[in-house]
Amino acid sequence: MSSKEKTWKEISIAGVPPKSSIGFMTGDWKTYMPVRDLEKCTTCLTCVMFCPEGAIKWRPEMGKIEFDFSFCKGCGICANECPTKAITMKLPEE
């Protein structure tokens, strides 16, 4: 374990997490990642609603959506739900 990890004396009891899931980068679990085709995307925000991790964010000030790959687990729900098939799941090297 890296030296950043705390000892048993430093952490709260019973697994109460000091940072909740914010500090737990689940993005490294993924195999496939969502890739968005900007031509097809209508910014309907369906993917934002369906993402179970809140990893797709709507930025109203910029009028666009952003994927947070630190937390995206690559489940593919967004691709499945997209009404215009603008999202496809691909291996990172593709």
Binding site: M1, E5, K6, T7, W8, I11, S12, I13, A14, G15, V16, P17, P18, K19, S20, I22
Partner: protein, 410 residues
């Protein structure tokens, strides 16, 4: 020691004594499912609820697994929580016992110790709670109904102490204690409430960066029961060991503090030695068997035999130092087990005691007597035979075999 506070003398069996103690401890939630020989505890307590004698929320669950889950959840909100079980019921709780201890929720549970099937048997032995040895629960075993009453009161104090924050089992021998009418002296409710006090909470750091009491509270939200994988699981398990270590002190303090208000104490709370100071041979046991053994020791002492008894009151945490100090000058020790570990070398109490004594340079010869399974009676004559065996072992310095079955038709 004379009692400082006036007490009422009652006649109760062990189960009733437990229910009466719970009634006095200002318990918020009881979630339970009846099973022989614990049934009277739940029945009696539900009477208190029905009569309006307690303010407790009583949850009738559909199984013991649900009972323990309800207790864990109630305790997580900060409620003082109690349940009781035995045998198959305790076994059905198995999964949730680990969740309860891992969640550091100080649930108090009375276990009216009973055999496990098969063959089906409702009578007393320690198979049920010994099978939960590694579940992370504190374990205290009592000798009689009086101690059952006293220990339940102490149990809330011990379990809820900030440094401990672990659930606790108080074991009473099925039928031998649970169903036997005895004299039980009880304290007044005010005195008990004052002794147990308000539930204490350890402080934890939440995701909002606040240090708050460890309980579910809408004002201070926190995540309980999250996952902790390769990176942190081990650390949380180590914390539980520390809770156990802290309980060694907590149990002794509860025992001596309780003695001040009641005039009753049980050894130092961890071990209860009897005529052990100059003993050359000794028997280690848990539970009600100690009562019979003490009578036999008195007889043997009159006959000039230097015999003693050590009742192990606290099995978890194991009082290693106390066991070593108490038994270091004894020549031969017999450890009695009312449960078995088929295929192992002896049974749990033997394993633990022998293990603890291994590091003494000149440790006694230690043998195991498995007895009383399925409630089989152990007569004074049977128990006396163990001391006769020990005399022979002490004299020759040799134990022919390590594991014996007492009262078994060979």
């Amino acid at each position: 020691m004379t009692p400082k506070i006036k007490q009422e003398t009652t006649a109760m069996n062990g189960d009733e004594a437990v229910a009466f103690a719970v009634k006095q401890c200002d318990v918020d939630v009881v979630a339970a499912y009846p099973i022989t020989p614990q049934t009277i505890i739940v029945e009696k307590f539900s009477e208190y609820v029905a009569n309006g004698e307690v303010q407790t929320e009583f949850i009738c669950t559909e199984s013991e697994h649900s009972a323990m889950t309800a207790c864990l959840a109630a305790s997580a909100t900060g409620a003082r929580t109690f349940t009781a079980s035995a045998s198959a019921g305790l076994a059905l709780m198995h999964e949730m016992l680990f969740v309860t201890s891992g969640s550091r929720t100080p649930v108090v549970m009375a276990v009216a110790n009973r055999a496990l099937s098969a063959p089906l048997n409702i009578h007393g032995d320690h198979s049920d709670s010994m099978a939960e040895r590694d579940s992370g629960w504190l374990q205290i075993y009592v000798e009689n109904a009086q101690e059952a009453y006293d220990s339940i009161i102490q149990a809330f104090k011990i379990a809820e102490e900030v440094g401990v924050s672990l659930p606790i089992i108080v074991g009473l021998d099925g039928f031998t204690i649970s169903h036997t009418l005895e004299r039980v002296d009880v304290l007044s409710e005010d005195v008990v409430k004052k002794f147990v006090g308000e539930r204490q909470f350890p402080m934890v750091l939440t995701h909002e960066g606040k240090t708050v009491p460890f309980k579910l509270d809408p004002e201070n939200p926190m995540t309980m029961g999250p996952n902790a994988l390769q990176n942190y699981y081990f650390e949380f398990k180590r914390q539980q060991v520390e809770g156990m270590n802290n309980a060694l002190k907590g149990i002794q303090e509860a025992n001596s503090e309780y003695a001040k208000i009641s005039g009753r104490s049980y050894g130092n709370g961890l071990i209860d030695p009897y005529k052990l100071d100059d003993a050359e041979i000794a028997i280690v046991c848990i539970g009600s068997t100690a009562g019979t053994l003490k009578v036999i020791v008195d007889q043997l002492r009159e006959e000039g035999m230097k015999a003693g008894v050590l009742r192990l009151r606290t099995f978890r945490p194991l009082p290693v130092e106390e066991l070593r100090n108490a038994l270091k000058n004894v020549k031969a020790v017999a450890v009695m087990d009312k449960s078995m570990s088929p295929g192992g070398l002896g049974a749990p109490v033997f394993n633990e005691v022998r293990n603890a004594l291994y590091d003494i340079k000149q440790h006694p010869i230690i043998v195991n007597y498995i007895f009383g399974l399925g409630g089989r009676d152990s007569s004074p004559r049977d128990l006396r035979r163990i001391f006769e065996d020990l005399t022979k072992i002490a004299k020759t310095g040799v134990a022919e075999k390590q594991v014996h079955y007492l009262g078994l038709r060979e």
